[in-house]
């Protein structure tokens, strides 16, 4: 009986050993699986990081395209009016005048500076409402040249012979450097400086002190004069940045 008991114990142990080995094997598999999972997680997380990074650049491209679409929509919308309109494309550094959608004057923007508040509009997607329609010119102020260089010939008070050299007025005007501020709706202000060899570009852009949404630009003097003279309170602006 004791021998049978020992034999039964022995048999049970023998039966348990393979089960035990199976247990050890499965537990080691689970450990490997955990290790593999960790590696897979790392790989997938690194892959996901790559996808996230690529998604970020795609998202930025999406924003740029949305702004470009708004820009072209505004240009087409402005063409329905009879006014002389302004188009500012800071991405391509081009400023132009358009009449009924036909470009009549184009100039290269030598340098420009844009306020942080306008850049924040882009980051927080508030640009969609800000750029939804063309800007309208409210007034032009702080200008160094007259809007219309009117020369008064008052024959009721002055004899005709006194008005010989009227071209002197034109020559005098050409000697002034040109700077002006354009104020649009939605708080947009645009400061234009002419290109000037004697003043460094960064000095031009550093003045004046402007608040809110502003853009400062430097363009050639003849274009600055032509653009200022052409615009009036019925003019609109399409902007892209």
């Amino acid at each position: 009986m004791l021998q049978n008991h020992h034999q039964n114990v022995f048999n049970t142990l023998c039966q348990s050993i393979p089960v035990f080995l199976l247990f050890v094997f499965l537990s080691s598999c689970q450990q490997n699986k955990q290790t593999t999972d960790q590696d897979a997680n790392q790989n997938s997380s690194s892959t996901n990081n790559l996808i996230v990074e690529t998604n970020d650049s795609l998202h930025q491209k999406l924003i740029d395209l949305e702004m470009e679409e708004l820009f072209w929509k505004n240009r087409v919308s402005m063409s329905r009016d009879v006014s002389i309109d302004l188009v500012i494309d800071l991405v391509d550094s081009i400023m132009s005048l358009e009449i009924k959608g036909v470009p009549v004057r184009k100039t290269k923007i030598s340098a420009y500076q844009i306020s942080n508040s306008i850049l924040y509009l882009k980051w927080y997607t508030a640009y969609k409402s800000w750029l939804a329609s063309p800007f309208h010119l409210k007034q032009d102020s702080i200008t160094t040249i007259p809007k219309e260089p009117v020369f008064i010939k008052d024959l009721s008070t002055t004899p005709l012979e006194a008005f010989d050299d009227w071209t002197y007025f034109t020559r005098l005007e050409n000697e002034r450097s040109i700077h002006y501020l354009l104020e649009f709706d939605r708080g947009l202000m645009i400061w234009i400086d002419q290109e000037n060899d004697s003043v460094a570009v960064h000095d031009s852009l550093s003045r004046p002190e402007l608040l809110g949404h502003w853009i400062k630009m430097v363009i050639p003097a003849p274009d600055a004069k032509a653009i200022y003279r052409a615009l009036n309170t019925s003019s609109a602006l399409a902007l892209r940045y």
């Binding site: 009449i99 009924k100 008064i152």
Partner: protein
């Protein structure tokens, strides 16, 4: 003892089975999570790509709509600031030249009448083409010269040769014409009309037809 060992063995087996079952379920859920996570990101990416394609297509359409605004025939661009004229076709320059535009002189006559001599701005069309045009001298011309003003029916009002050989009419009463005052080309010297050199005027006269557009800024 035997029963105890068999019981332990059975417990071991049950433990192993449950552990294995748990292992299987965890593996499946992990795989499912993994499968769910990657397509969500890819779906988002695909959505962005789709939106980008749509936007690019719409931008192309808008650009084409904007390009259609360019006149199909030749057109003229006049800058009153630079006193330059540019004949264009399909956004290309055919001819460039100097001109004279309005002088911005405000003439105040002794009889309290006044005139501001400026060239109008905006879009216009050629409404008349004239060869050897005559000029009807208005009142302000006599006042500027300090001469007496004749009757409007006086034939002395009509003067030949002052406007050159060719003239194009636009707007209510303005013209683009040649001039005898060539030394003032490039300067604001006129009473509202646009003066060109005779050669430039002849070239432009041949290229522009009735209805061609004139842009003045």
């Amino acid at each position: 003892m035997l029963l105890f060992s068999r019981g332990v063995g059975i417990i071991f087996i049950l433990f192993l089975i449950s552990g294995y079952a748990q292992y299987l379920s965890e593996t499946k859920s992990t795989q499912t999570n993994e499968l769910n996570r990657v397509p969500a990101i890819q779906q988002n990416r695909e959505l962005i790509l789709f939106q980008i394609d749509q936007l690019q297509f719409r931008i192309i359409q808008l650009k084409q709509e904007h390009e259609k605004l360019l006149p199909k025939k030749a057109y003229l661009i006049i800058s009153t600031s630079d006193n330059e004229v540019c004949l264009m076709k399909d956004d290309e320059v055919l001819h460039r030249g100097r001109c004279s535009t309005g002088s911005f002189v405000l003439l105040k006559a002794p009889d309290s009448r006044q005139w501001l001599f400026r060239t109008p701005r905006g879009q216009f069309k050629v409404n008349v083409k004239l060869k050897d045009p005559s000029w009807f001298k208005p009142d302000w011309a006599y006042i500027e010269e300090g001469k007496p003003i004749p009757s409007i029916y006086s034939p002395a009002r009509w003067q030949d040769g002052v406007l050159g050989k060719f003239a194009l009419g636009f707007g209510p009463a303005f013209m683009i014409h040649g001039t005898i005052y060539k030394r003032f080309l490039g300067l604001p010297a006129t009473h509202g009309c646009v003066r060109l050199d005779d050669d430039d005027m002849q070239f432009i006269f041949k290229k522009l037809t009735h209805g061609c557009k004139i842009f003045i800024y």
